[in-house]
């Protein structure tokens, strides 16, 4: 997987995201600056409402910052048009969600193929890419199954295959084990670790599971109330 000239896959500079909630202004992310090196596995740790998912959405280009800059391979997402952001989501990042977010009426194969359709990849190339992705997550035998016919762990692996199929450089995972039992959760974490190692893929994972974060990630970034928690103070996070 490729990095950028300064070695950072993704970095933010004083990025903020505010929401108006009635008369009140909510600072979901407040002046956060982070830098993630290419090939690094970083866990964003924090309790609910700490702003970690909002920061992940900003890195994914699903949301725009109120202020500050977000660089993915030195391209500032804050200055991109919506078309360019779509291209970023399609080609640079892959996303995995807590709720899997597979389309229920599609088979596993069709779900995994969907990003290839959106990226206008040649039809002739698609089946090979799909097979490669599902083999990586050991689901080749379940291609024709619909999500409802898969277990939670299988669904998350399918979502992982879908995130990998366009060969992104950055994998963004939002609580990937949140809906899984501990054994299955560990399996998914091992899979992420393997992908990070074998593909040298940069991974930014949002979690509130400190133990798993410590076990699998290279580095933990802790957030509280939209701000970064200085290293050393992170022990306070549950």
């Amino acid at each position: 997987m490729t990095g950028s000239s300064n070695g950072f896959a993704v970095r933010t500079e004083g990025v903020s995201r505010q929401y108006a909630m009635g008369d009140a202004l909510v600072h979901a992310v407040d002046g956060v600056s982070i830098a993630v090196r290419a090939g690094e596995f970083v866990a964003l740790l924090g309790s609910s409402g700490s702003g970690k998912s909002t920061l992940l959405n900003l890195l994914a280009g699903l949301d725009r910052p109120t202020s500050g800059a977000i660089y993915a391979h030195e391209q500032n997402l804050a200055g991109m048009t919506s078309e360019e952001l779509a291209h970023h989501r399609s080609h640079t990042v892959g996303m995995v969600f807590q709720a899997f977010n597979l389309l229920p009426r599609m088979t596993l194969e069709e779900n995994v193929e969907l990003p290839l359709r959106l990226a206008e990849v040649d039809r002739a190339e698609r089946s090979g890419r799909v097979r490669e992705a599902v083999e990586r997550v050991s689901l080749a035998a379940r291609l024709t199954h619909r999500p409802s016919e898969l277990s939670g762990g299988e669904q998350q692996r399918a979502a992982l295959a879908r995130a990998l199929v366009n060969r992104p450089t950055i994998l963004l995972a939002d609580e990937p084990t949140g809906n899984l039992d501990s054994v299955t959760g560990d399996t998914i974490m091992e899979l992420l670790q393997e992908i990070n190692r074998n593909l040298q893929m940069t991974i930014v994972m949002v979690t509130h599971d400190k133990v798993r974060a410590a076990r699998y990630a290279h580095r933990i970034i802790t957030m509280r109330d939209g701000k970064l928690v200085p290293e050393g103070a992170s022990d306070e996070i549950a």
Binding site: S82, A86, F97, R105, P115, R117, L118
Partner: protein, 470 residues
Amino acid sequence: MKLRDLTELAARNLREAVLRNSLTTLGIAVGVASLVAMLSLGVGLQELASTRLSRSGLFDAVFVTTQANMRAFGGPPRASADRVSSQPARKLDEEARRQLAEIKNVVEVYPEVRFPTEVQFEGKPYMTTVAGIPASARGDGAFDEMKGAFFSGPEANEAILQIEFARDLSKQTDSLIGKDLVLRYAEKQALPPDDSASGQSKANRSAANDSAISNTMISDVPAPGGFSLVPRELPLRIIGVVETEPATGFGGFGRGRLLIPLQIAQNLRIAQPTDMREMLRGNTGKPTYETLTVRVSSPKAVQGVEDTIKGMGFGTFSILDATKNMMLFFTVFDSLLLIFGSLALTVASLGIVNTLVMAILERRREIGILKALGAADRDVRRLFFVEAGAMGLLGGVLGVAMGWLIGRALTIGTNAYLKRQELPAIDISSIHWWMVALAIGVSFFVSLAAGMYPASRAARLNPVEALRYE
């Protein structure tokens, strides 16, 4: 996203909510069907009227008379009267007939021969109107669907009955063919000149008695000495029955109920109502015609020929003005039908808006997922557009089929009624390829327009909020 992928995804989405989408498509189909049915009805009626008038032989004919006669008859339609030439009035004599025949695009010039008289059939007398039909009338369409045959020759003692007169003679009109009837009429015979009358030359007398000329005259003006009427009978063989009434001349479109060859009719030297007037005026023995029918090579040439004839000092009348008014009527009629048909399609397009807005609500999360996976706003917009277009296209095709069925049902229903009334069957609806293309095209584009708002709303969805939607 490529069009093929968009189409596949749209088809999948449409199949997912098959009942709702089918009902929406059916709504469009009903709208298109009403549009097609109305349009086909308008065009069908227009074609029916045009065909009937064409078959009457009126479109390629100019009826010529003297300007004096035009006024005497109460005048022609105003438009024609206005165009009467300022040149001095001319007599409609043999010389005029020859000149008319020489005009460019004129195929034939023949006099009008129509007269009321009595017919004897199976011992019973019947009053009817006899009309002389030229041999050229065979090709003008009026006799296309006749029972029996057209006249075997210009001087054959044969008769073709108009269906209503045939019904007077027998309920089984087909059985009349091959039977004989007797035409009873009054023939003019010139009297020798009255010595007390102002001096008339022998030449005039001889002209009055010259059957070679006078036999071809309708207004066979007698010598100043007057004429007598002699009862005559002419046996005729019924050879056909015709439903459409052929045109037989100025002011009397289709009023001939017993049709005989024109040459035979001319040879009868029938006394005409105007004979008395001509005699009292003391006209010379030079015979004149009451009216002449000028048959033109095509309806397009009618106007030019009519203008030329007016320039020669005659009055004319053609069906052209009436046709123009008829076309104007049908244009307005078609427009009204189109408006009413479009109303149903407008209502159906609201159904599309409703269906797609519902789809956005249901597929909110899916739209969020698509965007997270790299779909641009444009892709989402196009996806909804394709869904709307597909419903419009399918509804359009279905609607055309339904519209055709409605048209057929109307025709069948109408013909069932006409049959009970013993009237001939007609086709009141007509669907052309342009109508099919128009209906499907309109349905498609109206559906796209209806999909505009939902598509743009779906494209603008915030992906983060959409992903949170349960």
